[in-house]
């Protein structure tokens, strides 16, 4: 392996021990380093502060030299050089002006840079090119018993994502562990060493050096291992200042490469260890015993049909201003004037709001007065108002399919910035529509009956409420829930804001109503796996997972649980977020609906890893006795049901807080998620409502951090809407249950709801602290004695204008709401759309909030976006009402966009397997295909695929489509 090597000024100066140790180590591993010929200063930090462009030019000269050397990779061990070289490369690619400056400056000295050189850090090369194993093989003097604090500093991990994690880099840890060293947990591993401030503003710089030493010492480190010459210099050379101000806290600071050299058995003198002001001595253990751990057919191009202008065509054209939405970018009167002169147009108007009642009446009046037989409206998207205008045209006595709509808002005025060009585009779109409308045919509407049964997917509060509403109206409902019990997230909440009603008390009556309602078939522990058909007539397949208990026979007596062979509950309990324990046979929670137990085959002794072994004594079966409800042979079943409408209420997933490692979840046991705390304060929760921490202590100060996984471009951009309120609720409950001091850390308090602001007031009166500031980090290193053993919150109190450190015993992370991980699969299943953030998309954000783009499929609750319980229930009611409106009409009118077979069908049958609705059959008598109009959904697949072009489609006739294209391109033809 051969690489270019960029030492940088420090490795030839104060940091020469780094070079002295790194070069022999790399050579020992078979890496040949060739020092870049005539390299210059990288343009580092101090230069950046004077002139960024010049700093980049300096760096670029080195990148150009490296490129010229023919070795594509440049190793830069100094953290500052590594960053500046990388930053320059980024700027070179991202900013054309910077690239031009660099090109010009390099040209002045006869150099050029193409932008290819890869800048590599030695750690990156060691771990990813050489590999831990190869390094382990070279170890002759393992660093057994050496405790190391690995200190990465700032610039190799920030700001660009490079070869290691930005928040918790581990490459050096893994490397040194392979050498036999013990790594101490060091929460300051990416903190700043003070940079040049040690020299320029010593009061600030020396203090930072002190903090780094002090924490390493407290954690028992024998040395601090570093990757940066400036870090090493600051930590090592200023030892005297640190000692005189802060006492004996100094720990030796070495380069990681020096430790590698020691482990490889290279002579100490060669490793520059003598250059440290604070000497590092390591006496290796005696050498270990001799074991090393070691083409389809071409279709003739269609000829553009000659449009035979029917003298009786009388088109009325309307261009809508849509207030300023269209008129500000499109000159509407000009478009109206232009279209008025096109053949066939007898009337052309522009009007402020065509969708308004007067606008619609205008169309009706004009049809009568001017004997219009075609109507074209240029306005917004057909998704919004095609239906409106078709109805208006029908009310005027014209067949609704003689109406055509042009979108000059979403497709034109909203997306363009040049008024002249946008107007020209509007004219072209209108011209195309006029040509198409000329050929439009009157079509009959189709009536299809609706199946009155409804499928509700998801048994949270939204699904429960929708199902009950429909059932009470006499409709049959299939309620399908993935979990063993309905209830969703609400069942896990302790209280609800702002009224502090007990969540279980208000929810469980509804749950048992669902369980006992004659019109509701509840299928829990089940998933929808396939959906076919269309509005009014869906065929749905549901997979029912085995719970190894017969639902019809189980009475919910739970005697089996008491008699399980496991005397103690010892498996994490899902309902209590793993804070409590359950047995293999269990019921999710006391009020679970259905009241049916289930067996977890992953842990039940009668199974081994989910496979039945029949080895258990089956004390549960004995306890069940004559009821005979337990059935170990139960298998997964797929059932098929017929429904007319579907309500999707699949809810949300709480944000995974491990994605924000700086808040310490998983590292510090006393950091909790909000949902865990809901269970912790609940009377039927794992601690019976007492606030006892994971380490057994009771907290005297608690921090609640808002916006975890919300309002953050690195995770989720949106506001999750409920976190401010539930954080306040939890603050109230935690204070009530523990008497602790409560701190809320928020960016903005969002309390827009009935009684919400008043609740905020109430909390202020209760003495809960509200600190406006997004928390930087949760850590456990202490600056002052009061912080010892505590979790420390570092935050700017932005209203007071000071940075504060606040020690607490417990941290609650107010997790945001996000779509389920499988939201995309569910979306495809029901043929819905998702917004960019992954929540299901409503048909219109204001006017059709529970409809989707698929007729007959409605959405409710948090699957559409974060919302609280009142809004969810309101939305579920709305979805149920929309479904009822469809059902009670008894039929739906279907767009007559079906395909039909023309006479020249050759009977090749190639269309038959392509039809997704199995609507095409082959007629042996005539030797041609036939389409069942009742089944055809008008997708057009067969039309496009017919090799002889002998399938037509209503509303999308070839001549209509081609004349529209010709109209669009008329200016160019």
């Amino acid at each position: 392996m051969k690489l270019s090597y960029f030492p940088g000024c420090s490795l030839k100066g104060l940091g020469r021990a780094y070079e002295e140790s790194l070069l022999p180590v790399m050579r020992h591993l078979g890496v040949e380093l060739v020092e870049l010929d005539d390299w210059n200063c990288c343009g580092a930090t101090a230069y950046m502060a004077v002139d960024e462009a010049k700093a980049c030019v300096l760096a670029a000269r080195n990148l150009a030299l490296a490129e010229q050397s023919g070795r594509g990779q440049l190793m830069a061990p100094c953290a500052a050089c590594y960053l500046v070289l990388n930053k320059t490369k980024h700027y070179f690619h991202d900013y054309p002006a910077m690239k031009a400056t660099i090109d010009r400056a390099l040209a002045a000295v006869g150099l050029s840079y193409a932008g290819d050189t890869a800048v590599r850090h030695p750690l990156d090369i060691l771990l990813n090119d050489i590999g831990i194993e190869a390094i382990r093989q070279k170890v002759t003097q393992p660093l057994k018993g050496l405790k190391v604090a690995t200190y990465y500093g700032c610039q190799i991990v920030r700001p660009y994502a490079t070869f290691d994690d930005q928040y918790n880099p581990t490459s050096m840890d893994r490397l040194l562990e392979a050498l036999g060293a013990t790594i101490v947990r060091y929460p300051l591993k990416t903190k700043c060493c003070g940079g040049s401030l040690t020299g320029t503003v010593p009061a600030a710089g020396i203090r930072m050096v002190y903090i780094l030493h002090n924490e390493a010492r407290k954690r028992g480190a024998d040395c601090i291992a570093t990757v940066c010459p400036l870090c090493q210099f600051n930590l090592d050379a200023y030892h005297a200042q640190v000692r005189s101000e802060y006492g004996e806290v100094v720990v030796p600071t070495v380069y990681f490469s020096q430790l590698m050299g020691l482990a490889f058995g290279l002579p100490e003198k060669q490793l520059g260890l003598q250059r440290a002001a604070v000497p590092f001595r390591w006496r290796p253990a005696p050498p270990p015993h001799a074991h090393l751990t070691l083409g389809r057919n071409p279709v003739p191009a269609p000829t553009l049909p000659m449009v035979q202008l029917n003298p009786e065509i009388r088109i009325g054209f309307y261009v809508c201003h849509c207030g300023h939405n269209i008129a500000s970018m499109v000159d509407c009167p000009e478009v109206a004037g232009y279209v008025g002169r096109l053949p066939g147009v007898v009337l052309s108007r522009d009007y402020k709001y065509m969708c308004s009642d007067p606008g619609q009446e205008l169309i009706q009046k004009d049809i009568a007065e001017f004997q219009l037989n075609r109507v074209v409206v240029a306005s917004c998207s057909p998704l919004l108002h095609e239906h409106t205008f078709r109805a208006a045209v029908a009310a005027g006595g014209l067949n609704p399919y003689l109406f055509h709509m042009v979108n000059i808002r979403e497709h034109d005025s909203w997306v363009h910035t040049d008024r002249q060009e946008a107007t020209a585009k509007a004219k072209a779109l209108a011209r195309a529509a006029i040509r198409r409308a000329t050929l439009a045919r009157a079509l009959p509407e189709r009536q299809v009956p609706i199946n009155p049964a409804v499928l509700v997917v998801g048994g949270g509060i939204a699904g429960i409420h929708a199902a009950l509403t429909l059932a009470q109206a006499g409709k049959h409902v299939w309620l399908v829930e993935r979990e063993p019990s309905i209830g969703g997230h609400m069942a896990r909440f302790d209280k609800t804001f702002p009224t502090l009603d007990c969540a279980a008390c208000i929810l469980t009556p509804k749950m048992s109503a669902v369980g006992s309602h004659p019109n509701i078939t509840l299928w829990s522990y089940s998933d929808v796996v396939q959906v076919d058909g269309f509005v009014g007539n869906f065929t749905v397949k549901v997979r029912r997972r085995p719970r190894y208990v017969n639902e019809d026979l189980c009475t919910g007596c739970q005697e089996c649980i008491g008699n399980c062979i496991y005397k103690e509950a010892k498996f994490p309990d899902e309902f209590n977020e793993g804070l409590g324990k359950r047995k293999p046979i269990h019921i999710p929670f006391p009020q679970a609906t259905p009241q049916v137990v289930l067996i977890d085959p992953q842990v039940c002794l009668n199974f081994k890893r989910g496979v039945l072994t029949d080895r258990c004594k089956k004390t549960c079966v004995e306890a069940c006795g004559d009821r005979k409800a337990i059935d170990f042979t139960q298998k997964e079943e797929v059932k098929e049901i017929q429904v007319g409408t579907i309500i999707v209420a699949t809810g949300f997933k709480p944000f995974d807080v491990r994605r924000v490692p700086q808040y310490g979840y998983g590292t510090y046991p006393n950091v909790y998620t909000a949902l865990e705390v809901e269970r912790l304060v609940n009377a039927s929760g794992p601690t019976a409502g007492e606030v006892i921490l994971r380490d057994g202590r009771r907290p005297s100060a608690i921090a609640i951090i808002h916006c975890v996984g919300s309002r953050d471009k690195k995770t989720n951009r949106w506001c999750s809407r409920v976190c401010c309120m539930y954080s306040m609720k939890l603050a109230h409950l935690l204070k009530e249950h523990s008497g602790a001091e409560l701190y809320n850390f928020y960016i903005d308090i969002r309390a827009p709801g009935k009684g919400y602001e008043e609740f905020y007031d109430k909390l202020n009166e209760e003495g809960v602290h509200f600190i406006r500031g997004r928390v930087g980090e949760v850590t456990d290193w202490a600056m002052i004695p009061e912080e010892e053993g505590k979790l420390v919150i570092r935050v700017e109190d932005t209203l007071a204008g000071v940075v504060r450190r606040i020690p607490v015993d417990m941290v609650v992370l107010a997790t945001g709401l996000e779509p389920h991980a499988d939201a995309q699969d569910v979306r495809r299943l029901f043929n819905m759309s998702c917004g960019t953030e992954g929540f299901f998309l409503e048909r219109h954000p204001k006017l059709a909030p529970v409809n989707t783009f698929t007729d007959g499929v409605f959405i409710a609750g948090c699957c559409q976006g974060p919302r609280d319980i009142p809004d969810t229930v309101a939305q579920a009611g709305a979805a149920a009402a929309e479904a009822l409106a469809l059902i009670d009409r008894g039929f739906i009118m279907q767009e007559p966009n079906t395909a039909y077979i023309l006479d020249d069908c050759s009977g090749c049958k190639s269309c038959i397997p392509l039809c997704p609705y199995t609507a095409i059959a082959f007629d042996e008598a005539t030797g041609k295909a036939v389409i069942n109009e009742a089944l055809c959904k008008g997708c057009g697949t067969c039309v496009g695929s017919c090799p002889s072009g002998s399938i037509g489609q209503h509303l999308f006739e070839d001549d209509e489509v081609f004349s529209e294209i010709a109209g669009l391109l008329a200016a160019y033809l």
């Binding site: 100066g13 210059n40 230069y47 003070g194």
Partner: protein, 227 residues
């Protein structure tokens, strides 16, 4: 790029309003309560300053700041700052140029990039700090003998001349130009460096050192139309 005297620092961007405030303050000096105006008038703004900063590569995202304070919360040096990084962002966006350029904050920034990677709006705060430092240096707004701009200045001079930095020479020049007494205070450090073989005053220089000046001049003089 000459550092200003203390007097001129005080008069940077002075308005008629400032002068009248100064008069008021003098009148109040007899009172034990020392007061100073903190209210901002529209005339204190340098309209367009914020936009100008936001037009620099890397600084564009500033317009999205939601003032959450994450930058100050993670900044290891915010404890010493007169304006927290968050306040610097707000003042910059609101065009209070003089307030920003006079702030200690920009000089205390050690470029550790913590704020940049933590910012929920992905504002590259460190790059904005660099930009503000550059503006302060070119406007000459910093205290006399203040070491950081002097360091930056000496650094660039040395790079231009030799192509590389000889760290110790740089540090010694810095102390001579700012506070040579402080250099004496660091005698122990110097001794350590000598003892450990790191004390070298031999100037590092590249072969084609003339090239550096040529490149840097090419940055300053974009090719224009021939005269």
């Amino acid at each position: 790029m000459k550092p200003s005297s203390a007097a001129s620092l005080d008069t940077v961007g002075q308005t008629a309003q400032d002068r009248s405030d100064a008069r008021d303050a003098r009148d109040h000096r007899r009172s034990p309560l020392r007061i100073e105006r903190t209210i901002k008038y529209e005339s204190d703004r340098r309209v367009g300053f914020g936009r100008e900063v936001m037009s620099v590569p890397g600084c564009e995202q500033l317009e999205n700041c939601i003032q959450c304070g994450t930058c100050s919360g993670v900044c290891p040096l915010s404890i010493y700052m007169d304006h927290s990084p968050r306040q610097v962002m707000a003042l910059t966006r609101a065009d209070f140029r003089d307030e920003v350029l006079r702030s200690h904050t920009i000089w205390l920034c050690a470029s550790c990039y913590s704020c940049t990677v933590e910012c929920p709006q992905q504002i590259r705060i460190t790059d904005i700090m660099y930009e503000l430092k550059q503006r302060a240096i070119s406007a000459g707004i910093y205290p006399r003998r203040f070491p950081i701009p002097v360091l930056a200045h000496e650094f660039t001079r040395m790079v231009r001349k030799h192509g590389r930095i000889t760290e110790l020479v740089l540090v010694i020049r810095l102390f001579l130009k700012t506070d040579w007494l402080a250099a004496l205070g660091n005698w122990r450090l110097g001794l350590d460096l000598m003892r450990t073989g790191r004390f070298s005053l031999l100037t590092e220089r590249i072969k084609h050192h003339g090239d550096i000046a040529k490149m840097l001049d090419a940055v300053d003089h974009p090719p224009g139309p021939a005269p």
